[in-house]
């Protein structure tokens, strides 16, 4: 089963691709760059034939679970189907083969698409303006926090605290720290929501903003959202919403209408651009109209029927990307939104919520559900009850792989013991959900009768459980040729 490394398939002198013959006369009397700049030892890249590459990377691909092949109920990641149509349109030469410094008259279609996408995101979220520049959700958070810092700087005051609920994604405090803020954690109330008393207590004059996720990572809607926004606004502090869970709200509620000031979206979650094994994502940031001047530059502008880039704006937080963001992902998201339309977007959230509640109802009695109100697009179960059998949430996650399901998010949010965070999305059928429930039921049964099979899982994957401790204690982060081979390779 094991596939060797591509380096181990290398045979000196083998080639996988060739340049056409040169069409210019070559001056071979001197190297094209002076000797002092000339590379002396070539990089030890593999030397393989085209077919070696095809077979190797095809075989490696078969060692992956993916949305196309397996149910992927990874909470807060919205692993929905990624339409093939969107791949086709993003590959059109008129989008894929554009240079970012081409004159505006050469890229009118692209600029129109980006401008319309900004407008569509405004319509979907109720925000006043969007930038498409941030390359991922975390970079969107960074951008949003820079906007918040700039807002207070403009008002000539120093605010150094960001309030973050204890149920938040780890990127929230990390982004706040990278932006130079202090993080003060808000303890969630017994219902899993922001506790207004706790909020009022920690809402000092030093608070620049509250970062909240809505619905939160328990899949619960912050029903006091208006009151929360009002409290922050009373102190002229801002409300940042992490829009990672926006798949619950399409056509139901718009963050902008509820009083949110700054919001990032994850196009690779809600708007179906493929996750690619860990990116590229896209993390557009929306702000209410009065904050538009703080958005990164450049901005797409429309004058009559003509589109262009505008790079002036004194209040802007600056640039966060080398050019305009992950444009290839923007094309896919635009295609998705236009395909679904308002009807389809609303139906996506409705079915996502129905799917999550259906799963939760079916799992009731099998596992413990700590927050039993109706959830939105995701929910959290606790496997604390299996501890008596010496089985952990991590063990159950691994055993699910044996049953052909990717594992839910494990041990998160941090406020639930032995948590599994489950997000089915709208694109999974009832039959798939039933099969998943069946698998979890069997695993719980196994945990009681034969816990070892769960603790030693997975058994049906290309490899068994990994030695993570060895990986961290003796970091081996790159391949090196065995000594004898190295001598051979350097000839």
């Amino acid at each position: 089963m094991a596939e060797p490394l591509i380096f181990e398939r290398s045979v000196t002198g083998r080639r996988g691709w060739r340049l056409p013959p040169s069409d210019i006369a070559r001056d071979t009397s001197s190297p094209p760059v002076p000797a002092e700049h000339l590379r002396r030892d070539p990089p030890a890249l593999p030397e393989v034939a085209e077919f070696d590459v095809v077979r190797h990377y095809t075989r490696l691909s078969q060692q992956n679970f993916s949305v196309d092949t397996n149910f992927y109920p990874l909470g807060s990641c919205t692993m929905k189907y990624n339409p093939k149509l969107n791949e086709r349109v993003a590959a059109l030469p008129g989008f894929a083969w554009l240079h970012p410094l081409q004159p505006a008259e050469h890229v009118q279609g692209m600029l129109q698409l980006m401008h319309e996408l900004e407008q569509l995101l405004c319509a979907i979220t109720g925000m006043g303006a969007f930038t498409l520049q941030p390359a991922a959700g975390a970079q969107g958070e960074l951008t949003g926090l820079k906007i918040i810092a700039a807002y207070h700087r403009r008002k000539r005051r120093r605010r150094s605290t960001i309030l973050i609920p204890d149920s938040a994604h780890g990127t929230n405090p990390a982004s706040a720290a990278l932006s130079g803020f202090q993080v003060v954690q808000l303890k969630s109330g017994p219902n899993g929501l922001i506790d207004l008393t706790e909020l009022k207590h920690k809402l000092t004059g030093d608070v620049a903003a509250l970062m909240l996720t809505n619905p939160n990572t328990l899949g619960l809607f912050e029903r006091e959202i208006r009151a929360i926004c009002a409290l922050l606004h009373e102190r002229d502090a801002l409300v940042y919403m992490d829009g990672a869970n926006m798949n619950a709200l399409l056509g139901i509620a718009r963050p902008g209408d509820a009083g949110v000031d700054v919001l990032q979206l994850n196009l690779h979650k809600t708007f179906s651009t493929p996750h690619g094994g860990g990116g590229p994502g896209a993390g557009p940031v929306g702000v209410k109209a009065s904050l538009e001047g703080f958005l990164p530059l450049p901005r797409v502008r429309q004058r009559g029927a003509r589109f262009s880039w505008a790079d002036q704006g004194r209040a802007s937080v600056g640039r966060v990307h080398g050019f305009y963001g992950n444009v290839g992902m923007l094309v896919r998201a635009y295609a998705y939104i236009r395909t679904l339309g308002q009807e389809g977007l609303s139906r996506a959230s409705r079915v996502a919520i129905t799917n999550a509640n259906y799963l939760k109802a079916k799992l009731h009695g099998v596992l413990s559900v700590p927050f039993d109100d109706p959830c939105l697009h995701e929910f959290v179960v606790s496997l604390k009850g299996l501890r008596a059998h010496g089985v952990s949430a991590g063990d159950v996650a691994k055993r699910l792989l044996d049953y052909g399901f990717y594992a839910p998010t494990v041990y998160f949010p941090l406020i639930v013991e032995e948590a599994l965070m489950i997000e089915p999305t709208e694109t999974e059928s009832k039959q798939t959900l039933d099969a998943f429930v069946d698998a979890l039921q069997r695993i719980v049964e196994e945990a009681r009768t034969n816990p070892d099979v769960v603790r030693r899982a997975p058994q049906r994957m290309p490899v068994q459980r990994l030695d993570e401790v060895k990986a961290a204690r003796e970091p081996n982060l790159r391949w090196s040729a065995p000594k004898s081979l190295a001598a051979h390779g350097s000839q």
Binding site: F65, M79, G94, N357
Partner: protein, 447 residues
Amino acid sequence: MDYAPQTDTELHEMLAAIGVESFEELIQAVPQDVRQQASAVPAGLTEPELLQLLERLAGRNRALTQVTSFLGAGCYQHLVPTVVDAIASRGEWLTPYTPYQAEASQGTLQAIYEFQTMVCELLRMELANASLYDGASSAAEAVVLALRATERPRILLSETVHPHVRQVIATYLSGAQAVIQEIPSVNGVTDLEALGRALRDDVAGLLLQHPNVFGCLEPMAQAADMTHRVGGLFMASVYPMSLGLVQPPGAYGADIAVGEGRCLGSPPAYGGPGLGLFATTQALLRRMPGRLSGCSVDAAGRRAFTLTLQTREQHIRRERATSNICTNQGWIMLRATIFLSLLGPEGLRELATRNAEKARYARERLLELPWISPGVDQPFFNEFMLRYDSSVAPETLNRKLAKQGILGGLALGPWYPTRAQETLWCVTEALGREAIDRTVETLRKLV
């Protein structure tokens, strides 16, 4: 058109199983006063309608495949072998997520490990991560690392670093207790005398770009030595395609090497998605941002791969993480891995050499025109600066060229006001001799 498979009957059955009468009961937690009233999203489209719409939008753009382009300046047009698209478009590569469950993600994890090895080889560095967003954010992360590792406040950036990269660094550092100082250039490269005056013991690090924004090769080895003498970190931002020919960062003592890797097997895509390369030394391992795939063993003792050293990362360390980054550019990274496998050391050397030779040919041809002179006299890779006589305005000329399907050298005036007569020309293997000759003839007629 939407992609949710449930029929109305199924939805009813599911609501019944949940124990509610209607969907509305499931969203009662969403107060009425925040419910959405209206929306301006147009009605949905079927596949043929969507295709027609997007093809029309794409048709309003002039693709690089239809024009002759001399544009580079941070985004380079290189050929993409068919195999890259064929393999990378497999759903098993395109649709998984970050490989948290190692046992079900060995494909991705092994590909990352291979990529890390290739980047180490290409840059001649000890360690590389699984990639960051793009070259610009990699440079910003390098600077953040230098500030934290040295606990010193001053960052030196040469003015020959791409202005967009300097802007992204400025954004990342805004609000931090850090000072950014720009080092001027002389004759197209960083002024080493000015650098010498700026290097004091409060300098966390120096970032140079190589080749720099004017296409010139910088005196990297001298600058690295000078920076090390005051205890600062030397950071190099490089163009990976040049490394088939040009000295890699490890050879001149870089502590951190970054670069934009999109040119390795991915189309320009209007500047993104990119591929942020990030490599460093063993000494800085635990301060490194981003994902790392490590080689370990499984319970049966077989070689296997896993994400490792995750205690540096945001999902464990939260506000004390080395960076807030969560994802990498996985799919673009995979494309680069396939690309570098296909090329191998010899293919990369030939490709880099071809770029350099074509650029030299184009430069000589363009210099035949009496109103064009060399911008500077410095060694270069595939990009070079040319100066026009004061009678020829670069931007006006480019507009005329664009009408004839030629994207001429980038006017540098908007980025460098004192260089209003200077232009930046880039030539890659994608440009044929015939297109270069035709451009020279067109220019002869236009001026």
